[in-house]
Structures are given as structure tokens and as C-alpha cells.
């Protein structure tokens, strides 16, 4: 009995502490949903593919808008829209958009190749997400500059071995 009451006290205390932490962190978490989450593990495959795609460039945040659900109920079928703020002229356009998963068995999900003929850098598809993770989008510009966006998606039922 003593043991039990001890446990319940600890639980209550840790609950209060975590509740306070969550309350304090809420603005941060909201921010994380749209930009990045630094707490989730990233697969070695992701690091490998990411390094290959980025090459010598230093990716800069911004100018990419990624529409993904905050919570994906079905990881087999997650709609995604990627837009890059670019004039899409011969002098300045998005050459490619790379889509990467940080926790799928295969990290490189897709590469979309664009040109000034597109006029608007906006693509849509549907992706698989094995579990809750960051989705990383890279945009390769004609100047050689690389843009990056990180989007956290919470997955309820994982996409099977995607």
C-alpha cells in the first residue's frame, strides 16, 4: 500500500511537471509543426540521401510552403502540396524539388523537375509515412542555392513498409 501511494505521488508530480512543461512549450510546439522538430530521430538513410542531394550547398530556410496534414490518420495516403516562392523566369527558377522522409525505410520519396515553362513552382502528390516524423523538402534553384523546409506530421496508422 505504501509503495502504491508513493508511486501515485510521483506520478501526480510528474504529471504536474509535464503538464506545466506542455503549457509552457505550447507556442514552441505550434512553431515546430510548421518549421522543424529537433527532437525526432532521423534515419541514417535520410542523412545519407540528404547529404547527396544537398551536395556542397548550405540549405536556407524559407520561401517553401509545404501543405501536409498536422495529423495523418492513414500513413499510406498523405496528401502533400509543395509551393516555392520563385519568379520562375529564365534567370531565376526552381530546378528541382526533392522530397525526403526522415523515418521511412526509403528516405528519398521523390524529385520533381521544373523549368521556367511551369511559371508557378507548385506540385502536388500523395506520400507514405511509416510513422510520426519530419518531412524535409529541398528546393534547388537555378542559381545553385538550396532552400529547405521541415514539416512535422503525426501519423496515427503508419504506411506499411513505405
Amino acid at each position: 500500500m505504501r509503495e502504491l501511494s508513493k508511486i501515485s505521488i510521483v506520478n501526480r508530480r510528474s504529471f504536474l511537471v509535464s503538464a506545466a512543461a506542455v503549457a509552457g512549450l505550447t507556442p514552441l510546439l505550434v512553431h515546430a509543426a510548421t518549421t522543424s522538430s529537433l527532437t525526432l530521430d532521423r534515419s541514417p538513410k535520410f542523412e545519407e540521401d540528404f547529404a547527396k542531394l544537398v551536395g556542397g550547398a548550405t540549405p536556407v530556410e524559407g520561401k517553401i510552403t509545404v501543405d501536409l496534414p498536422e495529423i495523418a490518420e492513414n500513413g499510406n495516403f498523405v496528401p502533400i502540396t509543395i509551393s516555392v516562392d520563385s519568379p520562375m523566369t529564365d534567370a531565376d527558377y526552381v530546378r528541382a524539388i526533392h522530397l525526403l522522409s526522415t523515418a521511412n525505410p526509403v528516405a528519398h520519396v521523390a524529385t520533381f523537375r521544373l523549368s521556367p515553362l511551369n511559371a508557378v513552382a507548385r506540385v502536388q502528390s500523395r506520400m507514405r509515412l511509416a510513422k510520426t516524423q519530419d518531412v524535409v523538402t529541398l528546393a534547388e534553384l537555378s542559381s545553385g542555392q538550396m532552400l529547405i523546409a521541415t514539416t512535422l506530421v503525426k501519423v496515427t496508422i503508419g504506411g506499411c513498409a513505405s
Binding site: 499510406n76 523537375r113 515553362l117 511551369n118 511559371a119 507548385r122
Partner: protein, 107 residues
């Protein structure tokens, strides 16, 4: 296993308009990471490349991995240079290419 390509274009467009081109094709997009009932690995079978041309000019290309959902849906934008015909090609892991064409009506 690749079948039934579907294309959605605006009914009509004007020269200079930016239009959305929506494409969909029926395909299992087997990841190569799943096992069958007997525990045998099901070999990977996906559409790995999608190319869109408008009047012989490539306007869009996508290289896909197993992280793209079954029945891959892809949409992109294009500025209308004039009347013409779209030509789409989906290529799978067996090297089989399925094509579809769609005329764009320009008012």
C-alpha cells in the same frame, strides 16, 4: 499492373494562363519492404519515372520512390504557350512505359 491513366485539364485556357495539370494512374506501388503470407519478400514494383511533354517539349518530370502512395497522383503547373497536346509517360521498375495524351483547348 499499370492501367487507366487519368488526366484533368481545364476545359479551355488562354495563351499565357497558368494551368494546373492533374494526373493519376492505377498502380500498386509495391515498396519492396513487405512480405507475403509465407514470409517471402514481395519484390519492389513501382512507377519510378513520370514525364510530361507539351508539344514535344518536356514541361515536367518526376522521379518517384516507394514513398509515393499507390495509384500515384501528381499535379503541376504550366503556362500555356498556345494550343497543343500533352503527352504523359509513366515508367515502372520492369521498364514498361504507359502513355496517355490529352489535347489542350486554347480559346
Amino acid at each position: 499492373m499499370t492501367a487507366n491513366p487519368r488526366i484533368k485539364l481545364p476545359d479551355t485556357a488562354k495563351v499565357g494562363d497558368v494551368i494546373e495539370v492533374k494526373t493519376l494512374i492505377t498502380h500498386v506501388m509495391e515498396t519492396g519492404n513487405r512480405h507475403d503470407k509465407d514470409g517471402k519478400l514481395i519484390p519492389r514494383d513501382i512507377i519510378n519515372t513520370f514525364v510530361a511533354k507539351f508539344g514535344d517539349k518536356q514541361v515536367f518530370r518526376a522521379e518517384l520512390g516507394p514513398g509515393i502512395s499507390a495509384n500515384p497522383y501528381i499535379s503541376f503547373q504550366m503556362r500555356v504557350p498556345g494550343p497543343g497536346v500533352f503527352e504523359f509517360a509513366w515508367t515502372d521498375d520492369h521498364g514498361v512505359t504507359t502513355t496517355a495524351t490529352a489535347p489542350l483547348k486554347v480559346a
